[in-house]
Symmetry: C2
Subunit: 334 residues, 2 copies
Amino acid sequence: MSITIKDVAKQANVSISTVSRVINDSKPVSDDIKMRVVKVIEELGYKPNPVARSLVTKKSRLIGVLIPDISDPYIAELLNAIEEVAKTYDYDIILCNSYGSLESEEHYMHLMQTKQVEGMLFLTYKLRTSHKNFFEKSQMPVVMINRDASELNLSSVSVNNFDAVRELTSKLFEDGHEDIVLIRNGKESDVFGPSQYEGFKQAHEDHGKSFDEESVYNGSFQVKHAYDIVRGLIQDKKVPDAIVATTDSMAVGAINSLVDGGYKVPEDVSVAGFYDTKIAELYRPRLTAIHQPIYDIGAVAIRLLIKQITGEAKETTHFYLPHDLIERESTRKK
Amino acid sequence: MSITIKDVAKQANVSISTVSRVINDSKPVSDDIKMRVVKVIEELGYKPNPVARSLVTKKSRLIGVLIPDISDPYIAELLNAIEEVAKTYDYDIILCNSYGSLESEEHYMHLMQTKQVEGMLFLTYKLRTSHKNFFEKSQMPVVMINRDASELNLSSVSVNNFDAVRELTSKLFEDGHEDIVLIRNGKESDVFGPSQYEGFKQAHEDHGKSFDEESVYNGSFQVKHAYDIVRGLIQDKKVPDAIVATTDSMAVGAINSLVDGGYKVPEDVSVAGFYDTKIAELYRPRLTAIHQPIYDIGAVAIRLLIKQITGEAKETTHFYLPHDLIERESTRKK
DNA sequence: TTGTAAGCGTTATCAG
DNA sequence: CTGATAACGCTTACAA
């Protein structure tokens, strides 16, 4: 039997409403009574029962975070930020890992509703109609990560993927590479796919290069996939000058494949990654990559969500956070 | 205004108790009434309010998971398992990331209590008295991960770290290495430190080698730390034949340091890791490492916890899961 | 400024 | 088998 507001009231010789008032300081309470109550609370070690509280206030102080893969280092770092700032606002996180399966996502979206989370952070590999429908129906505050969700009339935060890929590709052209291949997350996945694709194309245009659809490969987030794609390239004797991967681990997969096939990186082929997760610095050669302010993306997203929950933010907005091009050892000037 | 049990009762022309009964099928309800109610529930899309439910049943269907670092790949994989099996039992996870800070851990442990989680999974770098006190007071079911917690009278699951290090070190001796160094997580951290240390020592004894305290270095979970330790070794011209790191990323840090210092791995020095996380296969040279059934550890832990919650498991037990020695390219026979 | 009492949406007890 | 009704612990009008 835990100790309740009643116990405190009795012990302090006041009504429970008074106790409630001092807990929330929602209404004026005379100083002496307040002190008395506070003292009793301390003595008894009373903690308000959040469940009872939620029942009446309809607020759970819970935020749902729906992501496709916890073990993705990018997502892990995001989570660090989310968790940390949520804590400072006294919110807790309910974590849901969908493995990218739509079924799972749907399951969780409903769960969130019934669990009365106050808002949710959403990161998906592929955005679908059923997501859209859900967000429209449930009036729950949502912010989307790593994707511009203005089309859904949702707030979101990400880097500008178009610019990032364009910049990275351009840099490679400027370094004297002619034949560049893009390995991106499966065609299916259009999280940031479209604009990355466009950025890649744009860079060709910028440098007066002809663009060939064939130079874009659709991998997946799996390392092995990138590995296999490059192995295919080697077998077909279509090894390019440079490879842009839209994930650090895909870049690593590509490099491994190249090395296993007898090529040197960056001497024979330049390879660049995306995100700049820990492995970029850890792997040898160190990865040239687009650095994303991952922690900040998470932090901005959760703050934005909390503002929406409290009503401080009304309009939906999209935040683009700045990225950087970090040159390391996996690319070179020709 | 969400739809409640009352609405269903009214619509179906029964009392709310009847509705409650069909929801939980806690008591017999005649078939026709049951059908009527079910139908109304479907039509109205009624979902019981878990908060109200919790208030009366004192059950939250929430499990707290307290860990020191989400972005540690080992922990991320653990989380995958935890999350996945929790879902099948219809529990949700509240995730708390302490960054290894005791203060944070204490904060969260109390939070768990007030949030009425039904049980918790606990993973810490260092076990302290205040943890012990907490677990004793709160009668909450707890299972400890990666550490034998029998001394706290708590259930736990891990591999046998003593055996694992002993085996790995022995293998290195058998391969002809003489001078082996152990780089483990900081001395402070005694998660698995003591028994790993003992295992290392035991291997020396097993092979009739003299053991020198000096061959044990206390790093931290940080890659950089391992890197620096090895750099120090190089500067002091005390480069050993082989290095055992108690973490894959520490092994990578060690190798990087060696390579940057002009040594070849495994030609000059053999380096072995621990855990066998993704990077072991990704990095070149591929890491020789102790493989841990990480997913299984998580899965067993959460199942055990749930059993404790439901009362199926009464006794506290410690599970040792089997490990493997995976030989790859970062070590060699001399 | 303080207290009384009516909920919040369920489950559970107890009659019928 | 079914229906009132009392909790659960708290917030919040409404009175005093």
